[in-house]
Amino acid sequence: MIVAGGPVIPNFGSGSKCETTGGWWCTDWLRSHWGDTLQPALVQHVELSLLAIAIGFVLALGLALVGYRFRLLDGPIGAFSDFLYTIPSLALFQLLVPITGLTETTVEIALVSYTLLILYRNMVAGLQNVPPEALESARGMGLTPLQMFLRVELPLAVPTIVAGLRIATVSTISIATVAAFVIPKGLGRPIFIALQQDLFKTEIIAAGGLCIALALAADILLVFVQRALTPWSRA
């Protein structure tokens, strides 16, 4: 199989006994290669994910507002989202390559698409689940539609939106590993190379472990964000 361009992991043939025999957990390899392999991959992974989530969030919010205001549009937009979601991540990457090339753009477009799909459904559902009597009393009290939206609908939709954000974040971090098929970035790359060359267990475990840890950390962080934003649910 052909390897894409980019720095190849330094040959560790001259390494310790642990490394040459492909041990499970070679701490000396980890120590010496943290700086040039694992850490950059981690940083790239975070960058890729964060960018996709940020863009996806903004786009989803815009679309959700449209789909919420104009119920007629919700159907088509939703159906389109569901359809896109059935395209496997790797396939989406490959399909975009002829158009946007072997670049980060390709990866970002695919990642943003998936984030968008998850978030759109969630945001619309969150807005639609606002208790109707709160809306009726707000209207009766004389709040303008804009005031109702900003002070009642949106705040009450936040819990559902953040829940969706949790799912989208973890999914994005997960799918970003596959980005290694297209560009030499992210935590998928060390895994990919290790699988192709000689199954270096430590590398696979380290990169894989980092990825899982990243996803779990993001999930926990967002749980705290959700708690912080919804003081009324703890009452």
């Binding site: 208790p131 009597e133 709160a134 809306l135 009726e136 009393s137 707000a138 209207r139 009766g140 009290m141 004389g142 709040l143 303008t144 005031q147 002070r151 009642v152 705040p155 009450l156 919804t230 003081p231 009324w232 649910s233 009452a235």
Partner: protein
């Protein structure tokens, strides 16, 4: 902010029709609610009472006719300004779950530009008025019982001191014991603040207890009778009204008067006693329980006279 005086409300052939040749939900309703009075809209389901209420704050637009508040037609005002000047209480309260009790109460004052300090003081004042402890101010609606929530809903509705208050079956979702207490407290509150109130209910007993005047709407939104509870109970205009108030309307009428409104006999003596504030209905019930003919009326424990069964029953 609205003027503290109560407003006079006039329905002038107010009509609501759905569709071109559709049914009339409210049929040329005409009545006047004097300032400071409680008018109860009551009737069977489909009678249009909630629709009539929502015509006032334009949550439902009028098809025909007019509604005037202190002489000004509701259609001549900006709808948002109109609603801010009317208190609105609904059955499920509709408190904002994401805001504290204090913030909920301050909703309309905030729309008028009042600052946090003013709202906090006003909320404290209102919590006391509706009978809730000050500690409720920082709590969230989710932790309150139904009765407590409705009290907050009431406080929220009068926070900006509107001259008119609309209440749509506010106590219907509350259990009977708490409901009775809320009704009493509401009457006490009304005695203090004296607003014009339009109150919708399907419960005839509630209507009789609360209303200064009752408007009975029959199916199709037609006004059957508009009069004081006494008048309706003693002189229902037709069979529908008579049926609606119930076959026990005579007894209901007895519940409207107390012993101190009756002429008392000079003699006292032994026999069961009751305070002069007791309703005639309860007095009669007491006589029956004690199997007595004469009831001694007291004032603060001191006998002041007596009444017999016949006196009450005529």
């Amino acid at each position: 902010m609205a003027e503290p005086q109560a407003a006079e409300l006039v329905f002038d052939h107010a009509t609501k029709r759905y569709g071109d040749a559709g049914d009339l939900a409210v049929d040329h309703l005409s009545l006047t609610v004097p300032a400071g009075e409680i008018c109860v809209l009551v009737g069977p389901s489909g009678g249009g009472k909630t629709t009539a209420l929502k015509l006032i704050n334009r949550l439902i637009p009028l098809t025909d006719g007019d509604i005037r508040i202190d002489g000004v037609s509701i259609n001549d005002q900006d709808v948002t300004q109109l609603r801010r000047g009317i208190g609105y209480v609904i059955q499920n309260v509709g408190l904002f779950p994401h805001q504290t009790v204090e913030a909920n109460i301050g909703t309309v004052p905030r729309l008028y530009g009042r600052d946090k300090r003013w709202i906090r003081a006003r909320a404290a004042e209102l919590l006391e008025l509706v009978g809730l402890d000050q500690s409720y101010a920082k709590r969230y609606p989710g932790s309150l019982s139904g009765g407590q929530r409705q009290r907050v809903g009431l406080a929220r509705a009068i926070a900006a001191n509107p001259p008119l208050l609309l209440m749509d079956e506010p106590f219907s979702a509350i259990d009977p014991i708490v409901r009775a207490r809320l009704q009493d407290e509401f009457l006490r509150l009304q005695h203090e603040v004296r607003k014009t109130v339009v109150f919708v209910t399907h419960d005839v007993d509630e209507a009789i207890k609360i209303g200064d005047r009752i408007a009975i709407l029959r199916e199709g939104g037609k006004l059957a009778q508009y009069a004081t509870p006494q008048e309706i109970l003693e002189h229902p205009t037709d069979d529908f009204v008579a049926e609606f108030v119930g076959k026990d309307r005579a007894l209901k009428a007895l519940a409207l008067r107390t012993l101190d409104t009756m002429p008392l006999r000079r003699e006292t003596g032994d026999g069961p006693r009751a305070e002069k504030t007791t309703t005639l209905r309860d007095a009669l019930s007491l006589l029956m329980t004690e199997r007595a003919q004469t009831l001694v009326v007291t004032d603060g424990g001191q006998p002041i006279g007596s009444v017999t069964r016949e006196d009450i029953l005529q």
